[in-house]
């Protein structure tokens, strides 16, 4: 293992391509959301494939894509999340794999057959600005590691070269169209008929999405009283409904409080698969009890840990 330095030049970076790590939990009381990847499992997998800690800083690629050139050194990367079209010097690669770039090599990631967000981890230490102890970029303010721009240079220290290999894409990393929800906290502000409609009908993702959230199209599910509620804490996965009956699901960079009623909250583990859907995709909601949600969360965590342990042992 040789310790050395690599430099990456960003040739093209679309909007919302940012530096991310596991985020900054515990600061919502100061108006700061967790941020971190849209698909949190993708960054964990990419890092684990390289023997890194799960939440180490990497690059999150949006549907707008990314093109890089290695201008110095040798750099091993891991790519996971979504089914992107990945190529090295014009030669197609697998969407999920460990790849080593030599000086002068170009790596391109574009939207492929499925998925919306992809994570790149590096076998080394990516230099990045931190804010409140984390690299995770808060999109609205640009605080943290920040969005990538064409012409920008990134430095990776203590690079390790690892053998190239595919990374298996587990079934639980595919897009998730059927979302488990716990009803509430404000389901009582909606009529029984509206709640039934919410749970029985199909919604579609719209093109109005960013790292803060995802607006839905579908049946009108306006609350009975279109009054706001006193602003209250929000979580990733909250399904909030505006007075005119339009639902949105909050994601990584969500506002920390809001006054729109929430008809339901999506199981946190399901939000990664939700992030990998595309505008126009159909989704539906299934109500589960809080006890069932805890049981599912534990079951999913066990399956994920099992997968990660296998990935790390290769």
């Amino acid at each position: 293992m040789v310790s050395n330095k690599a430099e990456i030049e960003v040739l093209e970076a679309g909007p919302h391509v940012t530096l991310q790590d596991a985020g900054r939990p515990g600061l919502m009381r100061f108006g700061v959301p967790n941020s971190g990847p849209m698909d949190r499992k993708a960054l964990t997998i990419a890092n684990t494939a390289l023997g890194n800690p799960a939440g180490q800083s990497g690059i999150e690629v949006s549907p707008a894509g990314l093109r890089l050139r290695l201008t110095r050194g040798t750099l091993t990367l891991a790519i996971a999340g979504g089914g992107f079209a990945v190529s090295r010097n014009g030669q197609a690669l697998r969407a999920w794999q460990v790849v080593t770039l030599q000086q002068g090599d170009e790596l391109t990631l574009r939207p492929g057959p499925w998925g919306s967000w992809c994570c790149l981890a590096v076998a080394g230490q990516l230099e990045a600005d931190t804010w409140l102890g984390a690299t995770a970029t808060h999109g609205l303010s640009g605080l943290g590691g920040g969005a990538l721009r064409a012409g920008q240079s990134l430095t990776v220290n203590e690079c390790r070269t690892l053998p190239e290999r595919p990374i298996p894409c587990p079934v639980f990393c595919r897009p998730r169209r059927r979302l488990n929800v716990i009803l509430g906290p404000q389901d009582a502000l909606f009529s029984d008929g509206t709640v039934a409609r919410f749970l029985s009908q199909t919604f579609r993702l719209t093109a109005a999405f960013d790292r803060m959230g995802q607006r839905l199209a579908g049946p009108n599910i306006a609350p009975e009283a279109a009054l706001g509620i006193p602003s209250q804490g929000l979580t990733r996965g909250a399904v909030q409904v505006s007075g005119d009956g339009i639902a949105s699901i909050l994601m990584a960079d969500h506002q920390t409080t809001g006054g729109y009623p929430k008809i339901a909250t999506v199981l946190l583990d399901d939000t990664d698969g939700l992030a990998q859907l595309r505008p126009g995709d159909a989704i539906s909601f299934t109500a589960i009890t809080p006890a069932k949600a805890v049981q599912l969360a534990r079951q999913r965590a066990r399956a994920f840990q099992c997968y990660l342990a296998q990935l790390a042992s290769h």
Binding site: M28, S141, P185, I229, S231, Q232, G233, T257, A291, V294
Partner: protein, 202 residues
């Protein structure tokens, strides 16, 4: 999500802050964070460590003890230059002169009711009644950081350049996001704020 009232209410807010303080002093295994707001406390827990019934039981034992908690809160002074782009319109709507708006704004004792929306956005309750006007019908873009804005009976010091529908009555160099990693936010929820006019600028 614990709800103490359905509308903004001073007593309910004190109960939120008391429970928040009690929980911070005595967290349960698997506690992630609590988010105090006007009448609610959002409590997040790790489902791999605990479950809702266990958390509710823990909060019940705290709830009675919390009533004894004394909430002091630190005091902060904030200097303001009252030259905001909306000052004239606020004065017109309130039936006051611009100088009276400035004096009235300084006469309130404000309390950090909650942080919300965006990093460092501290909602300050205690805006004097003559200045209680509704927000603008439409948000205005690119309101600079450091703006002192009012609406709906609240005051706020902006920390980022952002759109807002609140009225900009002045500006301050007070930094709510301090940039100091040891103490990144100037105010804690429950702190008291006093505004005074920076007569010779900032």
């Amino acid at each position: 999500m614990l709800e103490f009232a359905t509308a903004i209410d001073k007593e309910a807010h004190r109960a939120v802050l008391a429970l928040d303080a009690a929980l911070a002093a005595q967290p349960f295994a698997g506690f992630i964070e609590a988010v105090p707001a006007f009448v609610t406390l959002l409590v997040r827990f790790d489902p791999l460590v605990t479950d809702r019934a266990t958390v509710e039981q823990h909060l019940k034992t705290l709830n009675s003890a919390a009533l004894e908690t004394v909430l002091a809160g630190n005091r902060h002074e904030v200097s303001v230059v009252y030259d905001g782009s909306d000052l004239a319109e606020v004065a017109r709507q309130c039936g006051l002169s611009e100088a009276e708006v400035a004096r009235c704004h300084q006469s309130g004792t404000y309390e950090v009711a909650m942080y919300g929306f965006a990093p460092g956005y501290a909602y300050l309750s205690g805006l004097p009644a003559p200045l209680a006007i509704d927000r603008k019908p439409n948000a205005v873009r690119n309101v600079p950081a450091g703006s002192v804005i009012i609406a709906g009976g609240m005051c706020l010091i902006t920390t980022l350049t952002m759109p807002t529908g609140w009225w900009r009555i002045g500006r301050t160099d007070a930094q709510v996001l301090t940039g100091n990693p040891d103490r990144p936010f100037a105010f804690a929820v429950g702190d008291k704020i006093q505004f005074n006019e920076a007569k010779n600028g900032l």
